[in-house]
């Protein structure tokens, strides 16, 4: 994508970075990204990707803004209570950067609609709040060969990983976290969440997404980062590919 003088100035602090430069910023500006979830993680992800000039942002969320969200979901204003979260976050992103295209999707994407949007984008960020959505998004990304930046956070703890099964012998989300059907999961509404935790994990998701788009650095592929905010400790695990994985394993690849 061609950057005019205004855009060169707006993104100059990126362009000054030798690793990014004009070429890296042009790749960011020419990219499209789908963000699943416009909550605690989705807000910082969208605000950073939008401010950074990702050309086209799709924001998907079917929920409405609630008073209890405002303690940490920094893309929603008090006046947005009752409004769809994708709409509210899209407005905040546009206020920061009117130079990009922001497309709100007022539903939790699934099935055919999910497939269509994943097909259209360069990268998917999973900022959702449940395992069922996470597995559906992973299946679509594996089938369509799209990179997935996955983050999760609750209490004082967060997890972050990047999946791109086009790279041989690297895991997908399902290799790491097998299907959670029937297992009870802990939700923010029950367990609570420390406000800046979602900022920490969401900012790291934005970091990985922009690194992929600009083609810089080493991505968190085949690795899982665990962040314990209470102890201020990070841990990085290696994650092997599961050859028997029903989503990305040999059998699934042949059947697909």
């Amino acid at each position: 994508m061609e950057l005019n003088d205004t855009l060169l100035l707006r993104y100059s602090r990126h362009i000054l970075l030798p690793d990014v430069g004009v070429d890296g910023q042009a790749r960011i500006s020419g990219a499209s990204v789908l963000i699943i979830g416009a909550g605690g993680l989705g807000c910082p992800v969208a605000l950073y990707l939008g401010a950074s000039g990702v050309g086209q942002l799709w924001l998907a969320d079917g929920d409405t803004v609630d008073l209890t969200n405002l303690q940490r979901q920094i893309g929603h204003a008090t006046a947005a209570i009752g409004e769809n979260k994708a709409d509210s976050l899209a407005r905040s992103v546009r206020a920061i950067n009117p130079e990009i295209e922001v497309q709100p999707i007022r539903e939790a994407l699934s099935g055919r609609a999910l497939h269509e949007v994943v097909t259209a984008v360069d990268l998917v960020v999973d900022a959702s709040d449940n395992f069922a959505t996470r597995h559906a998004v992973n299946r679509a990304c594996v089938q369509l060969g799209k990179p997935l930046v996955s983050g999760a956070a609750i209490g004082f703890s967060g997890q972050l990983a990047v999946f791109d099964t086009r790279r041989a012998y690297t895991p997908c989300y399902h290799c790491l976290f097998p299907d959670q059907t029937g297992e009870p999961e802990t939700r923010c509404a029950e367990a609570g969440v420390f406000s800046p935790l979602v900022g920490v994990i969401g900012a790291m998701q934005a970091m990985e997404a922009l690194k992929y788009l600009a083609q810089v650095g080493e991505l968190l592929i085949g690795r899982l980062l665990l962040w314990d905010g209470l102890q201020a400790e990070a841990r990085v695990m290696k994650v092997p590919h599961d050859p028997a994985c029903p989503v990305c394993g040999q059998a699934a690849r042949q059947a697909g």
């Binding site: 605690g40 609750i154 209490g155 959670q180 802990t186 314990d228 695990m237």
Partner: protein, 110 residues
């Protein structure tokens, strides 16, 4: 006169004789306070044997992390020396002397 040097392999030799350590996220201590504020050491062996050994210190621990078939419950994650264990069913991966097992939950919140 130069001082006596430690043999180069001394620390390696010590490490070989150290039992594996089991660590876990804070939230597990709420259910098993007897595991908190101590170093949990067990004999080297399979993941399954290591979890049974923790159960000796904290009865009920195995039931908490394993299902009725002896497989890891689906929200329970386990690593050996910072590599995530993929075999969640037979739990036959070996935990070596000096190794570290880490138990943590899969998170889904956003």
């Amino acid at each position: 006169m130069p001082r006596q040097q430690f043999p180069a392999d001394l620390f390696g030799a010590i490490r070989l004789n150290v039992m594996p350590t089991v660590q876990m996220t804070q939230h597990l201590y709420r259910f098993f306070p007897q595991l908190e504020n101590r170093t949990i050491t067990v004999s080297a062996g399979s993941v399954s044997e290591v979890l049974r050994a923790v159960n000796e210190i904290a009865p009920g621990f195995a039931d908490y992390v394993l299902d009725e078939h002896g497989a890891l419950r689906r929200h329970v994650m386990l690593s050996i020396d910072d590599t995530v264990v993929i075999d969640r069913k037979t739990l036959s991966d070996r935990v070596p002397d000096g190794g570290t097992v880490y138990i943590f939950p899969a998170l889904s919140g956003g």
